[in-house]
């Protein structure tokens, strides 16, 4: 297996789903069974990726294999010199691991969907869309430059739009698709601006070349501040895609899409792309940028977790949980727990996919009933689903022996270490608190869905276990939520090849004084450095030894604390919902405002709506005299600021700009009319005018 072959594998994996998409789309209406081709393609891609992961990790564990080509060549550009825009493929450990996750889950979702989507009138189209999504996601994973990242970034946005709005006959579905796309675009603008800064500074998009130049001290606008800004701007892309606060509002709505789609896109892969992006650009993130990222991550972890406590839609709970978990990862990156962030990305992908597919199985069985208040007791009817769902729930709650425990614990340890190094304990606090909440609401979900008595007898009676193609993926994913795949020691993830060999923290390239203090190279005098001149491992260069040490120390307390909290959460959940020792309604009543806040999702949608409308009201009062239209529009209170503002500018265009033009025309006409008035048809009037004009002319010329 040569490097070249790896690249070729990557290219094949990249384009196979595209082939599937094209074939399925164009033959979709002609050939009924074409979806099988799409499935076949995905299975093939998965097999290839397995081979690839194996080959890469075994034969080239350290190398970054790159292959690039000039996509666009601007030749010898004045002032710049040669300017090429390259696209390329980067095969490194992170990308192969990620591609494994993506193809695996994608394949499972494909298979799951065969049964789940059966009978849909756009059955083949659905698979085509899955194909284009997989293609785009693969592109994100393999890219070696940020432009290609952005390209595929947008393409996943498109496929997400198509899939969320797959049942576009429902207004809520098409609304959700639109919302997802537009909210994502807000983030993308930030990311694009970041790319603009990068390109205008470095004249390249390639990560490696950018890193090299930064390490040589080339900074945007020669300022570390702008490097921070660049980092934050690029992170904006992640905010959108990974549904981080404050752009998280689209993800719950995105649950309008088919459930397998939610599993694939809105839980496992696409939303994780944001995290993946930060992982990729991690080396250029300054301390300031990381801190910003950590804060956003913390807020995103906390707020949705609180919302998830009170939601009754099975998919909504999972959606908020997803946001929360993504927040974890982002926060982890922000505090420097790079490896664990990626680790959590992988583990989360599996168990969250399992949860979603499990919920899909439930929904399928309940004939598209999503409200958990109408469920209960499904354990008996859907044993396999229940089992896999439970395993995944345990994993997400961070109970030992699961993958979730390993990764989450790492993150918590990271925040703990960060707190101990910098004295900022906020992130640790949030992390642990959210761990408690997570355990609670996840078990609430499990209990309400599967345990207890069926609350909707009729639907319950009709429910039956899903067919094999649906259950099989659940089993596979649940299996992957067990610790054993990652580490032999269920309490120390670092012993596994995954963290110790496969994933390495990257070299930080930002200037020393712009880093977190603990990321600075250890104070080694230059002279000594030359003398010692030992080849440094990456970890050493990235983080100071103090960090490694702190991390080491943080491990045990963090583990214990998180275990306790998870246990507490589970206990609470059981006592509330299973054993009914505590009454959730009573509690809700006693803290009514908080409950309402949570239940109404912190009023984010409403706030966005209200602030903009209020803003528009103020604006319109000023502009009242121009157009009473706007007032009407706002009194009806129907639209957001953009709509209103656009209406305003539309009428502005009609009335003012066009009006000016028409005014010119009117004036012209008026002048014409004035001239006409003289033409009375009475010859003597003409003569009077002539005499007067003679007088005027003479007077005028007398002054010369």
């Amino acid at each position: 297996m040569t490097e070249n072959l790896l690249i070729q594998f990557a290219i094949i994996i990249l384009f196979l789903p595209l082939l599937g998409f094209v074939v399925t789309l164009f033959l979709g209406s002609k050939v009924k069974k074409i979806f099988l081709f799409e499935n076949f393609v995905l299975i093939l891609a998965f097999i290839l990726s397995v081979i690839m992961v194996f080959a890469k990790l075994n034969y080239y564990p350290q190398e970054n294999i790159v292959s690039e080509f000039h996509w666009i060549s601007l030749n010898n550009v004045p002032l710049f010199g040669t300017l090429n825009i390259d696209l390329g493929i980067l095969v490194d450990n992170i990308s192969v691991l990620m591609i494994f996750v993506v193809t695996l889950i994608s394949m499972l979702v494909h298979i799951f969907s065969i049964a789940y989507m059966h009978g849909d009138k756009r059955y083949n189209r659905y698979f085509a869309y899955l194909g284009i999504f997989t293609f785009s996601m693969t592109g994100i994973v393999f890219t070696h430059d940020i432009l290609m990242m952005y390209i595929f970034w947008e393409l996943v946005g498109l496929s997400s739009y198509l899939l969320i709005g797959f049942w576009f006959e429902k207004k809520s579905a098409s609304d959700a698709g639109k919302k997802a796309f537009i909210v994502n675009r807000i983030g993308d603008i930030g990311m694009f601006s970041g790319i603009l800064i990068l390109f205008s500074t470095y004249h390249t998009f390639t990560f490696d070349k950018i890193f090299t130049q930064i390490s040589l001290g080339v900074l945007p606008f020669n300022s570390e501040f702008w490097l921070t800004v660049t980092g934050i701007l690029i992170f904006c892309g992640a905010i959108g895609k990974s549904a981080q606060f404050p752009l998280h509002v689209w993800l719950p709505d995105a649950m309008e899409g088919p459930t397998p789609v939610s599993a694939l896109i809105h839980a496992a892969t696409m939303v994780a792309a944001g995290v993946y992006l930060v992982v990729r650009v991690f080396p250029i993130l300054t301390g300031g940028a990381l801190e910003f990222i950590a804060i956003i991550g913390a807020l995103s972890a906390f707020i949705p977790a609180t919302i998830a406590l009170t939601q009754n839609d099975i998919k909504k709970v999972l959606a908020y949980s997803t946001v929360s978990q993504l927040g974890y990862m982002v926060m982890a990156l922000g505090v420097g727990a790079y490896k664990f962030a990626f680790f959590h990305l992988v583990t989360h992908a599996f168990f969250k996919a399992a949860l979603f597919l499990g919920s899909g199985s439930v929904i399928h069985a309940m004939h598209h009933e999503q409200d958990i208040r109408n469920m209960g007791g499904l354990r008996k009817k859907l044993p396999l689903t229940y089992a896999t769902f439970l395993i995944s729930t345990i994993a997400i709650s961070g109970v030992p022996l699961t993958s979730g425990f390993l990764s989450k614990d790492g993150i918590l340890a990271g925040t703990f270490a960060f707190g101990s190094l910098t004295g900022q304990w906020f992130f640790a606090f949030v992390g642990f608190f959210v761990a408690l909440l997570t355990a609670f609401y996840m078990f609430r979900l499990v209990i309400l869905t599967f345990h207890g008595e069926p609350r909707n007898k009729e639907k319950f009676d009709h429910a039956k276990e899903s067919p094999f193609v649906m259950v099989m993926p659940l089993v596979v994913l649940a299996a992957l939520s067990i610790f054993i795949w990652y580490t032999p020691n269920p309490f120390n993830p670092e012993q596994g090849a995954f963290l110790s060999k496969w994933i390495k923290a990257p070299t930080i390239v930002v200037p020393q004084n712009a880093r977190y203090s603990f990321m600075k190279n250890d104070v080694i005098k230059p002279a000594e450095q030359v003398q010692t001149a030992k080849p440094k491992t990456e970890a050493e260069i990235t983080f100071s030894e103090s960090y490694t040490e702190a991390m080491h120390h943080a491990h045990i307390p963090a583990m214990l604390l998180s275990l306790t909290l998870a246990g507490l959460g589970i206990l609470l959940a059981f006592s509330f919902y299973q054993w009914k020792k505590l009454d959730p309604d009573k509690l809700a009543n006693s803290i009514k405002p908080l409950y309402k806040l949570s239940y109404n999702k912190w009023y984010f949608d409403e706030i966005y709506q209200a602030t903009f409308v209020a803003f528009t009201l103020g604006l319109s009062n000023v502009l009242y005299w121009i157009d009473t239209y706007i007032i009407d529009g706002i009194v009806n209170g129907s639209a957001t600021v953009t709509k209103q503002f656009s209406k305003f500018s539309g009428t502005f265009d009609n009335i003012v700009v066009d009006g000016l033009v028409n005014l010119m025309a009117t004036i012209s006409g008026f002048i014409g009319l004035m001239f006409r008035r003289l033409q009375t048809g009475k010859v003597q009037t003409y003569i009077v005018v002539v005499v007067f004009s003679l007088v005027i002319i003479l007077f005028l010329f007398k002054s010369f």
């Binding site: 033409q679 048809g681 009475k682 003597q684 003569i687």
Partner: protein
């Protein structure tokens, strides 16, 4: 009272000229308008002859006056023919009533 000079004649001429214009503007009857035109022509003629005499310019001025008189006659003939024609079609010769052509 000064010696009668060029200016006296010019003054008469100016008065005639302005009265002519005044007549043209104010009189309704087309024939009266023509009379106004004749006044204007006469005033110019006075000018010509007065200038010729006082400037000692020779006979050019008188020549011009002669031509103008002839032209005036021709013009009067044509104008009257037109006025008669108007009278046939409009049954009036009041200039201010003849205004079918206008904006």
């Amino acid at each position: 009272m000064t010696q009668i000079g060029l200016n006296h004649f010019l003054f008469v001429s100016v008065v005639l000229f302005c009265l002519g214009i005044f007549g043209i503007i104010t009189r309704k009857n087309a024939v009266m308008v023509l009379m106004g035109i004749e006044l204007i022509l006469n005033s110019a003629n006075i000018n010509f002859i007065a200038f010729a005499k006082y400037g000692n310019f020779g006979y050019q001025g008188q020549m011009m006056a002669l031509f103008v008189i002839i032209l005036a006659a021709a013009e009067a003939a044509i104008a009257l023919a037109i006025v008669l024609n108007i009278y046939k079609t409009f049954s009036t010769v009041n200039v201010d009533e003849i205004d079918t052509l206008k904006d």
